[in-house]
């Protein structure tokens, strides 16, 4: 008999944001995210305190997946960021920081929730229309005619994660590998299926051993060394199973069996497996692959007949193998394999990288599948490198959908905030009346929005730098206050589009007393100022000539996040979405065990 527990009533509270406890947690979350932002971001070490593996990361997706939250609001924000990163890979930290900034700024400035929501929504529309406009100053068209823009974009992403611990040569190598992998995954004209890139990681080898291979690479276990010596050259016929061939009864699920004594179910299944093997051998199959385990007896049978046996492909690889070879994934051992289920492999090769032996399956047709082998000295750095490379490749892919990139280094944020401030202050009354709020409220909400945007740019700084904004183009500039060089000469803005001029007036962004300025419309950068920059597509990096002037130190820190246009516009709405969501009623039903305390309880809003 089960215990009888008194069911606790649900507790509802008004306005969750008024709780200090929750606000402090929001502040911790914001601090965690903002300190991870940018190429100089601080790393987070995640572990389980009982001797488990330590993850060192500054990637939002890794961070948030590892951490589980107790507060529904934090869970909601985390889920929204993760959702964003699964769709666009990039800009997770931006989403988080901006979203939390919107919430905190609204609270700090004492805005009514409903008003804040309406104004934020309005401002977001303004942002989107500005970014979508043809004369938008912060977007750059990706140049498909040269590889340089891909390299630049990819380099920006790779260099933005310090936990990868790459030196300049290594990051150059990784950059070119990601571009290579991306280009290999672009389908040829005849087939319109986008290829894929798989990643294999090898710990303990130098980064320079990383490489991109055509086809799929599989690790070969020590006792199953594949002998390819006396094998005729491909193509080979392959059969692919998705079901377990381990000879157990697991395929039947959790059923209850009654078995006649004397009947050995295992022997029966092995017999069935051997029959299957016989058919396959008769059909001239040369490679036998299975997602799960293959019974040793079947393996032995197949190997004796000269087949290459690959077991434990795993879910992640089965699908690509099927796609590459054209083999259908067989789900049953009882029915014979139909002829059309067989696929083809172009060839087999063995590679040895470090202590690992890898079997390469080459595609027979035009299937654009490739494998990136990533090597690094340390497991924790290797993991970060893997995530970063996948992200870089995804970002490159997104450029095919929307061939625009935004200028990086915080310049997009400053330009956008200056634009919004100007637009709002030129006609506050009309907008306010349209939004059914007072003029003051409207201006306050605009202030909160712009402040949140600017602060994202500011969080690129984790050291003793000062951020400035010029009052002509509203681009972001940075200066350092060092012991040795009090006056650092600035050659160009963060994104490299605006060169230093004497007539540029600048204000400090992160010194409160010096931020006051009149609103202005960011002047477009006329093409004759820096004509070569937009065309060559390397506006995220200083042009070569500039780089030489700055020296390597500057170049290294320069590649900031140059967000892909598409993902950035969507993330603006994500930020808003969360804020709106706060208005919904959230109930928290206490679990039956929690009888005593209600302190952890979260009360519903509104």
């Amino acid at each position: 008999m089960s215990r009888v527990c008194r069911k606790n009533p649900s507790v509802c509270t008004d306005d969750p944001l008024s709780k200090d406890d929750l606000c402090s947690k929001l502040a911790v979350m914001r601090h965690t995210l903002q300190s991870s932002y940018g190429p100089c971001g601080r790393l987070k070490q995640i572990h389980n305190n009982v001797g488990g593996h330590v993850q060192t990361t500054s990637t939002s997706a890794v961070l948030l997946k590892a951490v589980s939250f107790s507060e529904p609001l934090l869970q909601l924000i985390s889920a929204a960021i993760l959702d964003h990163t699964t769709r666009f890979s990039d800009c997770g930290l931006f989403t988080g920081i901006f979203c939390l900034g919107l919430i905190e700024n609204a609270k700090r400035l004492g805005l009514g929730l409903a008003v804040a929501c309406r104004v934020y929504k309005y401002l977001l529309e303004q942002c989107n229309s500005y970014l979508n406009a043809d004369d938008c100053g912060c977007k750059v068209q990706v140049d498909f005619s040269s590889i340089q823009s891909f390299i630049t974009l990819s380099h920006t992403v790779v260099a933005s994660k310090p936990a990868c611990m790459l030196n300049p040569d290594e990051s150059q190598h990784i950059t070119s590998l990601t571009v290579q992998a991306f280009l290999q995954s672009v389908p040829s004209a005849s087939s319109n299926v986008f290829g894929r890139t798989l990643v294999v990681t090898i710990e303990g080898q130098p980064v320079s051993s990383s490489a991109v291979f055509r086809g799929i690479l599989l690790e070969v276990p020590i006792l199953q060394s594949v002998d390819l010596k006396n094998r005729n050259p491909g193509p080979y016929k392959i059969v692919l199973f998705g079901t377990s061939l381990s000879g157990d009864l697991s395929e039947f699920g959790e059923a209850v069996f009654e078995i006649q004594a004397g009947v050995n179910p295992e022997a029966v299944i092995v017999e069935q497996l051997l029959k299957l093997g016989e058919r396959v051998v008769q059909d001239g199959v040369e490679v036998f692959a299975c997602q799960k385990v293959i019974h040793p007896v079947l393996q032995q049978y197949l190997k004796e007949r000269g087949l290459v046996v690959i077991e434990r492909l795993g879910l992640a690889l089965t699908e690509p193998v099927s796609q590459m070879t054209g083999a259908l994934i067989m789900a049953s051992i009882c029915s014979p394999v139909p002829a059309k289920a067989y696929g083809q492999i172009g060839g087999l090769h063995l590679h040895r990288i470090g202590s690992k032996e890898l079997l390469q399956l080459l595609p027979s047709g035009e299937a654009a599948v490739s494998t990136m082998v990533l090597c690094h000295r340390n497991e924790t750095m290797l993991e970060e490198l893997k995530v970063t490379c996948q992200r870089a490749e995804h970002v490159l892919r997104l450029t095919l959908k929307e061939p625009y990139a935004l200028i990086g280094g915080g310049c997009t944020e400053t330009v956008l905030s200056a634009y919004l401030k100007y637009m709002s202050e030129t006609k506050p009354s009309e907008a306010a009346s349209a939004l059914k709020c007072s003029r003051a409220e409207f201006l306050l909400a605009t202030e909160a929005f712009c402040c949140s945007l600017q602060s994202v740019a500011l969080f690129l700084n984790h050291d003793d730098q000062h951020f400035l904004m010029d009052l002509t183009h509203a681009h972001c500039w940075v200066t350092e206050e060092d012991a040795c060089s009090q006056t650092t000469t600035l050659h160009s803005c963060r994104c490299g589009l605006v060169r230093k001029r004497a007539d540029l007036e600048k204000i400090f962004l992160n010194i409160p007393l010096k931020t006051a300025h009149h609103s202005f419309l960011p002047a477009p950068i006329t093409s004759d100022v820096e004509p070569g920059l937009l065309d060559s597509g390397d506006c995220w990096l200083p042009p070569p000539s500039l780089g030489a002037e700055f020296g390597t130190q500057e170049v290294k820190q320069r590649p900031e996040e140059s967000e892909v246009f598409l993902s950035n516009t969507v993330l603006l709405s994500e930020g808003l979405f969360i804020y709106l969501f706060k208005k919904l009623r959230v109930f928290r039903i206490f679990p039956l065990e929690a009888t005593d305390s209600t302190t952890g309880g979260w009360r519903t809003g509104d």
Partner: protein
């Protein structure tokens, strides 16, 4: 089998290292935890602290590293780790084993452990330097933070420093062939001296050394890495220095054409690793003899000439507790320690060639291959009672035995365990079963005998059985009341070699095994790299010199180029390079202190400074610099601290060969150490997952 890891807390480090270190370590750990939340906690270890110029993570790293200072260099001292709960203790002699034995919480300790483990698993030596350097460099980083240098600049500056060191060492690397050649010439001289009783002409000797080294450099720059016998090298030598040196050479009566031919005889086609092994063994004379012997056996048994001089993949170790250390030896084949009740059986099998089968996994009725899920909810029904009383297990045993007997298998190697009953049955039927064999050994026997490893005994067929195997008893001995036999399993086609490592002190065996692997891998890496670095701290001295020298260079540049000064990073770079040079000083002086050549670090410090001053502004690879290094090596000659008696001649030879380090290993150590420091330097938050806060023990944490 491995012993279960005893539960030690970090605080237990008290047993291991000095007390003051622990006190620094433990409280700082507590301070670090600022914040905490429900199922998660977040502790902000850097953010608040960094501003005050101290970084708790780096302090922890420094403290852990400080505990392992005595592991640096060849004169390692043992550490005793005691588990207070069970009273058991373990003897360790390397950083990897030390960290393995400690239960480490905290992310920094965990990262250190992971780094050393990864390093040990792939390279097998240099963990002490790895930890020492990460400690020293974390102190550099801390000092920089203290001076208000931003993390960005520290990372840039220290990367630059490492780059300078790597470049300098690359230039002063020595070719393996020249080391061996050099050693051979020395040997010749020694033999001749002892034979004729003459005093050898010193000039020739030093000249030869110099020349061979410069030949090494030449080859290095051309990046030729083929084995050369010394005749070739000598001809080259003559070609390159035709006039001046030939004159001198003629004066020596030892140095004529007959000498060359003789020398050619000593160096056969197979690369002789003796000299090389002695050059990289770092004072482990007894162990290195095992490695040399292993190489000799492997070379003797390999059919093709292209075989490597030492194949570490074909090496296994067998530990013999209870025998004195002199009994350590190397044997061809797979050697295993078995209980004495099998002695008769082995005797019986010794006379003929045997048939062998290999089983991967356990050999029992219950065993199923990995990935097999046992069915749950199965009931067996029957319409009549089973009166035979034969259990499933018995049935399986009968079947197994029948198969083995039918196939006339004499010996079975099993990677897992074997049921006691089956073992007994097999003993009766004269079938030898050896349990817990490494998978790599199974693999080797599979290749050598043609046997196919199977998972189930029922899979065995005529094709799976290999043949041509012999067994013999090497030794029988008795210790602590149990009798053991040492059995060698052998086939002709294998190059598998077993190193028998014996010691009366049970606890020492592990360290001795580790030492053997270190030695073997050092030789292996040297053969792979084809290049060596001058050892005994010489490479580090070059680094110090370069770092200090680099400073001068950049200063002179600065004067000419004011824009360069405005760059911002350059002034910090000098400070950081200077601090890194001091870190190297610390390294070399600790090395000298550990080997017992100096009485205090100050003395070592003075010594180092004097030597570096002599070099002035020279480039690495400069001949004068190399001479000083050789002289220094002779002064420093790093020898084992143990009081083993050595033959006079052997000692003399040792001194002249010099000490060398593996280049690749050393570079990798440096990179990994710097990686570790950077990872921790750039971290500001420690996030602990999966916390159950029901006991309220994480009150001072922020729980998200």
């Amino acid at each position: 089998m491995r012993k279960p890891r005893p539960a030690w807390r970090c605080g237990r480090l008290a047993v291991v290292c000095g007390k003051e270190r622990v006190q620094r370590f433990a409280p700082s750990l507590r301070d670090s935890k600022i914040a905490s939340l429900h199922s998660q906690m977040v502790s902000l270890m850097g953010s608040a602290a960094t501003n005050h110029g101290c970084h708790i993570g780096l302090q922890q790293l420094e403290a852990i590293a400080a505990a392992t200072h005595s592991f640096l260099g060849p004169g390692k001292r043992y550490k005793m780790i005691q588990d207070e709960a069970s009273g058991e203790s373990v003897l360790v002699r390397s950083c990897y084993r030390l960290l393995e034995q400690l239960e480490l919480s905290g992310s920094v300790a965990q990262l250190v452990h992971e780094t050393t483990r990864a390093h040990w698993k792939t390279l097998r030596s240099g963990t002490a330097s790895l930890l020492f350097l990460s400690g020293v460099w974390s102190r550099v980083a801390l000092e920089c933070l203290h001076q208000g240098i931003s993390i960005r600049h520290i990372v840039a500056g220290m990367s630059k420093g490492l780059e300078v060191c790597l470049n300098a060492c690359n230039l002063s690397a020595v070719n393996v062939d020249s080391v061996v050649f050099n050693a051979n010439v020395q040997k010749q001289r020694l033999i001749r001296t002892s034979q004729s009783g003459e005093v050898c002409v010193n000039t020739v000797n030093s000249l030869l050394r110099d020349l061979s080294l410069s030949i090494g450099m030449k080859e290095l720059s051309q990046d030729r890495s083929k084995t050369k016998n010394s005749v070739h090298t000598l001809c080259l030598l003559k070609d390159q220095f035709p006039l001046k040196h030939n004159l001198k050479l003629k004066h020596s009566r030892h140095f004529n054409s007959s000498h060359i031919t003789e020398d050619g005889q000593t160096q056969t086609n197979v690369f002789d690793i003796t000299q090389l092994a002695e050059a990289v063994c770092h004072g482990c004379e007894t162990t290195v003899r095992l490695v040399i012997e292993a190489s000799r056996i492997q070379c003797g048994h390999s059919e093709n000439q292209s075989h490597k001089a030492l194949d570490v993949d074909k090496l296994v170790t067998c530990l013999l507790p209870g025998l004195t250390e002199e009994h350590s030896s190397v044997l061809h084949g797979y050697v295993v320690l078995l209980s004495a009740e099998l002695a008769l059986l082995v005797k019986h099998l010794e006379e003929r060639t045997l048939k062998m089968s290999l089983v991967h996994g356990d050999l029992s009725e219950k065993h199923r291959h990995i990935g097999f899920n046992r069915p749950r909810g199965v009931t067996y029904i029957s319409d009549c009672f089973d009166l035979t009383g034969i259990s499933k297990e018995d049935k399986w045993m009968d079947e197994a035995l029948t198969i083995l007997l039918n196939l006339k298998v004499d010996i079975v190697l099993v990677s897992g365990g074997v049921s006691e009953q089956l073992k007994n049955h097999c003993l009766h039927h004269h079938i030898l079963i050896i349990e817990n064999v490494q998978v790599s050994v199974l693999n080797d026997f599979a290749k050598a005998t043609g046997a196919l490893p199977v998972s189930y005994i029922t899979q065995l067929s005529e094709q799976c059985v290999g043949s041509g195997v012999c067994v013999n008893t090497q030794r029988e001995y008795r210790t602590e009341g149990t009798e053991w036999i040492v059995v060698n399993v052998l086939t002709d086609d294998t190059v598998l070699v077993t190193a028998l490592i014996a010691s009366c002190v049970h606890a020492k065996l592990q360290s001795m095994e580790d030492q053997f692997w270190s030695c073997a891998y050092r030789v292996h890496h040297a053969l792979n790299d084809r290049k060596l670095l001058p050892g005994a701290g010489a490479a580090e001295l070059i680094c110090i010199h370069q770092l200090q020298n680099h400073e001068n260079v950049s200063q002179s540049e600065e004067k000419g180029d004011m824009l360069d000064a405005a760059r911002g990073a350059a002034p910090y770079e000098q400070v950081i390079l200077q601090m890194m040079a001091e870190g190297w000083m610390d390294y070399v002086s600790t090395l000298m202190l550990n080997t017992g050549h100096v009485k205090s670090k100050t003395q070592a410090w003075t010594y180092i400074t004097q030597h570096i001053k002599q070099w002035g502004n020279k480039v690495p690879g400069n001949s004068e610099m190399r001479e000083t290094l050789l002289k220094m090596q002779n002064d420093l000659e790093i020898m084992p601290v143990g009081g083993e008696s050595r033959e006079e001649e052997g000692m003399l030879q040792k001194v002249k060969i010099g000490v060398y380090d593996n280049m690749m290993v050393k570079f990798e150590v440096w990179r990994r150490a710097l990686d570790l420091v950077f990872l921790i330097l750039q971290s500001d938050t420690e996030i602990v997952t999966g916390i159950n806060n029901s006991e309220g023990q994480y009150k001072d944490f922020v729980i998200l």
